[in-house]
Amino acid sequence: MDILNAGVALLNFVVIPAAAYGAQLALGALGVTLIYGILRFSNFAHGDTMAFGTAICIKVTAVLVALGISIYPLPVALLALPIAIVATAALMVGTDRLVYRFYRRKKSDPIIMVMASVGVMFVMNGLTRMFIGVDEIRFDDGARFVIDVASFRAATGLQEGLSLRTSQLITLVVTAIACWLLFRFLNRTKAGKSMRAYSDNEDLALLSGIDPERVVRLTWIIAAALATTAGVLYGLDKSFKAFNYFQILLPIFAAAIVGGLGNPVGAVAGGFIVAFSEVALTYPWKKVAGYLFPSWQPDSLLQLLSTEYKFAVSFIILIVVLLFRPTGLFRGKSF
């Protein structure tokens, strides 16, 4: 029984939350990694792209809800998502026209692109807030729980409870589907391969008859789709707040790097590594130890590091990984 309790406690406080968070990071990191891999720069505007996509999704959701549409127990936002993706993709492609294409044509140093993306970040940051304001917005109108603590306790008679939110489940499922689609696309389809070819050797891609502008457009569209999906899932799970989407950029970058920049598998793995290291390494083992060894009641929390340093922990892991694998776990690129 106590072993079960310990397991449930771990599942409830470590495994499920970290998995959901990891999936959110993974989706974000996929977008970052795709742009890095194919367009060769770290896109600092990605967090704000996520925010923008989510903002659109929220507005559309509001309209749908006003029309009386509901897909309970799923949130209506899922229906609005495709529209938000289209809008965000249009914005991204437009931004590329206005901003990035110029530097690409000039074959500028990647750092110039990075700085341009900082500029885009500032602008989008402002635009999103203009558009939807700075307040926290909840737009999850679906059922909140698949399993909630009280009913779990009642059903099992365990002391520890277990909860699984609908948003967490959706996040995991959608992430899995998105990854599968993306991998298939990149490795099996001609368009996907042409993207990889372009990322490898732009001039040679040209010589093979690949239209670079098409590849770029495709990249932005996919990145926009990933960003919007990631942003909406994150927003459903937590809540929408423009400011937070800038903050999530750092763990996203960390995830993309741990896995190996430019490598989609790495991005996904990286997302989970960052999430699990944040949660698991700062977890106090006192309670679990209490269940496992009832006779031992430790005074201290049995916590490796306090949560103030959780971010530090994930970065330390990152550095250690990089020391042994200088281009990430799954061999990323470095331009």
Partner: protein, 236 residues
């Protein structure tokens, strides 16, 4: 005489203000092998790039099969049937050998598996590595992949910039044999070579380029026979 298949005439242009090419003319008939030789830095690669549309020409025109393609972008020229292997950076390093070849067939909609098999037959060393990333290959193996990629296009004009640099003698022989064979099927071939004597040996026409201008133009055999050309450009 009928119009040459490729005719790039009086090309002038370069990378910036200074002109690398000065009144440089290159023509290839259908099914012919044309070879450009010349000292390092003469502008051979530049001329190839100019023909392929990767350089802005200040003067001159490029005609393919009578059609003026001077203003077309490289990828449009690919669709017109031109294939090109650059001198350097001529593979996709993080794609597998097989994917490199597939990329060569990017514009083809038909079944290209047979062509792939032919390429592997030509370069058995590379066939063993088909699942390996091309970036991990040795210098000569890369070169073989690069040529293989261009062959995949099934071009009507194949342009090769030093295809034999770094390949072993046995492979070079194979390669030249193969090039002759290709030319016999009616495909025009334009190549730059530093292994000049072997190349001129099989060339229908040879160009000696010096400082961006045509210095000598003649059949391969004739150039080989010219002692001046031999001494100053072909290494004796």
């Amino acid at each position: 005489m009928t119009q040459a298949y490729l005719s790039a005439s009086q090309m002038r242009g370069g990378y910036g203000k200074a002109d690398i090419l000065n009144d440089c003319t290159i023509t290839v008939e259908r099914g012919q092998i044309a070879v450009i030789v010349g000292p390092n830095g003469a502008g051979k690669s530049t001329a190839m790039k100019a023909v392929f549309g990767m350089l802005n020409l200040r003067e001159g025109a490029v005609l393919l099969d009578g059609e003026d393609i001077t203003r077309l972008s490289p990828q449009e020229r690919v669709r017109k049937g031109m294939g090109f292997v650059p001198q350097t950076h001529n593979i996709f390093p993080s794609m597998t050998v097989e994917e490199n070849l597939e990329m060569g067939a990017f514009i083809r909609d038909d079944d290209y598996r047979e062509t792939i098999a032919q390429v592997y037959e030509l370069f058995p060393a590379v066939a063993d590595k088909r699942r390996q990333n091309a970036g991990e290959l040795s210098g000569g193996q890369r070169q073989q992949v690069a040529v293989g990629r261009a062959l995949m296009t099934r071009p009507s004009l194949l342009m090769l910039d030093e295809p034999t640099a770094g390949v072993s003698p046995i492979v070079m022989d194979e390669l030249f044999d193969r090039i002759i064979e290709i030319a016999r099927t009616g495909i025009s071939i334009l190549m730059v070579e530093q292994n000049a004597r072997q190349a001129l040996e099989i060339a229908d026409i040879g160009y000696v380029l010096v400082q961006g201008t045509n210095r000598y133009t003649d059949t391969g055999k004739a150039l080989m026979a010219d002692p001046d050309v031999r001494r100053t450009f072909l290494g004796g």
